[in-house]
Amino acid sequence: MSLELLKEVLHSGIWGTIGPYSQKAAEALASHMGAKHCLMLYSGSMALEIALCALGVCQGDVVLVPASAEKIVRLSPNLAGAKPIECGGEKTGPTDIKAALVAEPLIKCVVLDANVVSGLEETSRLLSSRGVPLIIWAGGQVFSGAGRTLTKFCDFAVYTFSEGSDIYAGCGGALLTDEPRLFHIAYALHNCGRTLGEEASVFVDKAVGGNLRITEWQAAIIYSGLKNQSKE
């Protein structure tokens, strides 16, 4: 199925810049995960960067990350100019987070790795009560593990489609959220500052943003993977 879709993409002449498959993949993934909004990005690290920036993390801020998380998670705050502070052991739970919040009261945001977290619901409640936003890295667990319904516990759930992921598109990332405001900020940040509906404009004057868009090639593979799974 993927190869046929790739040929369709080729002949459409729309190979990037948020074409139909980027939108279809976003809709299919949001529906599969039970999230209100989904943004497809070029890669998982870029999805993390956009999530942090959308939450207002920037130069001088402190971001909490699990010590045993994947390197991509542990280093992600640097992309927003923030300083990562590690906490927890093999697993990171609410007690570790609580202790870290006492030691570093100015923590701007927490990024957790779904693979090395315990007591997610309690952690989520704790951070929510302190007004500290939470990003959860689900890695490539689109169909397996703790991947689904994560947006109930966090501001952003982040997925990757790189090697070893449930769907392999060479590279690829997705950002899921239930918050429309955050979705719109993230959208502009990943698309050169364009807001939804401004895709064709070269005048991008309202918001700041880079180009972290997914290609139609990647999006078609991801869409195909999601459709195949739903059939099964």
Partner: protein, 401 residues
């Protein structure tokens, strides 16, 4: 004098200009091969293309990445440029040049453009250099190389980096040498509209071994501070390789058609093509940029934007170009202030104002893949609108009232 199409007359041009991108059977085979290889990232297509681009640009290193914007960002991060540093750029460019600087936390400083070429003015750039300046990003606007000799000399004298934003300039040459070989590094874009495209994509070229190693480390997760998954996928690399086969032929066609159009516009009292410095041996012509004479238009009661609407109605897709980046409202937001820890100087720059608001106009690259008759139509449409200037001005005044 025939009636203007904008007022219901017959347009000059009925046949559409060529579309973009142009797809061939070779592209289809390339996609199939890459997909069936099962290795969709960091495979043979990308590494073979990198070697080919090194050879083509005459550089030691070429790196394929996800976009032209990311290419610039990786260069800046790779050079250790960030918070507290200043980077000089022209305001007449796509917003990506600016956002790459903001995303690394550095402070953008705008230098004016040259009124004849619309590229960064070396004298203005020099006047903006301070103790905090780490780099100048010189954009090859529309695909035409900027004043490389003067900018290289300036960068070398001040001990700062010259970075070439060649997003629109694949195949462009200065003194017979590929634009990718100049400066500390160059960044190209392969976004959907570009002359060499894979939908999205970017290319970094450099002769700086340390920078190259830093960029590779960031891409491969070996860097101590950054892990940026931005390697170009095999599918993109396969399409680019296939599209590269026709790039040189298209460059020749674009240059030929641009020269013909230059000649057709020669002597018109209200419009002229941009000047090309004599050292520019190949202009990539991602855009054919022309300048309206704002004084001549004002004398007739017209403006560039009124002219553009009338020319577009004649079937010629001539559009206003960039607005100066310093005028974009977002640069004054708290979000941007926090990103860089201060304010951006948004003082207007004379030549950028003139180009952005009153004089600049573009034709997109695929228009230059048409034939001589189409170039004649472009000139005819401009002349027809000018000949009807009186009526156009009168009706515009009436509409305004």
């Amino acid at each position: 004098m025939s009636k203007l199409a904008i007022f219901g007359g017959d347009p000059v041009k009925h046949k559409p200009f060529p579309g973009w991108p142009v797809v061939s059977k070779r592209d289809e085979a390339a996609i199939e091969r890459a997909f069936l290889s099962g290795k969709l990232c960091r495979g043979e297509a990308a590494s073979a293309l990198e070697r080919r681009l090194e050879e083509r640009t005459g550089t030691r290193h070429a790196v394929l990445v996800s976009s032209g914007t990311l290419a610039l960002e990786l260069i800046l991060r790779g050079l250790g440029i960030g918070y507290g540093d200043e980077v000089i750029l022209p305001p007449y460019t796509f917003v990506a040049t600016l956002s790459a600087i903001l995303f690394v936390g550095a402070t953008p400083v705008f230098a004016d453009i040259d009124t004849e070429t619309y590229n960064i003015c070396p004298a203005s750039a020099e006047s903006k250099v301070t103790q905090k300046t780490r780099a100048i990003i010189a954009v090859a606007v529309g695909g035409c190389p900027p004043s490389i000799d003067r900018l290289s000399e300036l960068a070398s004298r001040k001990g700062i980096h010259l970075i070439i934003d060649a997003a629109q300039a694949i195949g462009a040459k200065w003194r017979g040498v590929d634009i990718g070989a100049y400066g500390t590094a160059a960044a190209f874009s392969c976004q959907n509209t570009k002359n060499l495209t894979s939908g999205e994509g970017g290319i970094i070229t450099t002769n700086d071994d340390a920078l190259y190693e830093n960029i590779r480390a960031m891409l491969e997760g070996r860097h101590e501070k950054y892990f940026i998954e931005s390697c170009m996928t095999e599918l993109q690399a396969a399409v680019l390789t296939s599209q590269l086969e026709k790039l040189d032929g298209e460059i020749v066609t674009r240059e030929r058609m641009a020269a013909y159009l230059d000649a057709r516009l020669h002597g018109l009292p209200f419009v002229r093509p941009l000047m090309r410095e004599k050292e520019v041996t190949v202009n990539a012509y991602h855009l054919y940029i022309m300048r309206f004479d704002s004084d001549a238009l004002t004398d007739k009661g017209l403006s560039r934007d009124i002219m553009l609407r009338a020319v577009a109605a004649e079937g010629v897709p001539l559009s206003a170009g960039y607005l100066p980046l310093y005028s974009f409202p977002f640069i004054k937001t708290e979000a941007v202030r926090r990103m860089i820890g201060g304010d951006i100087d948004d003082s207007p720059l004379k030549n950028a104002e003139k180009a952005g608001y009153y004089e600049g106009a573009w034709l997109f690259q695929s228009v230059l893949l048409a034939d001589y008759e189409d170039m004649d139509d472009i000139a005819r449409a401009l002349i027809k609108v000018w000949e009807n200037a009186g009526e156009l001005a009168a009706r515009s005044r009436k509409e305004e009232r």
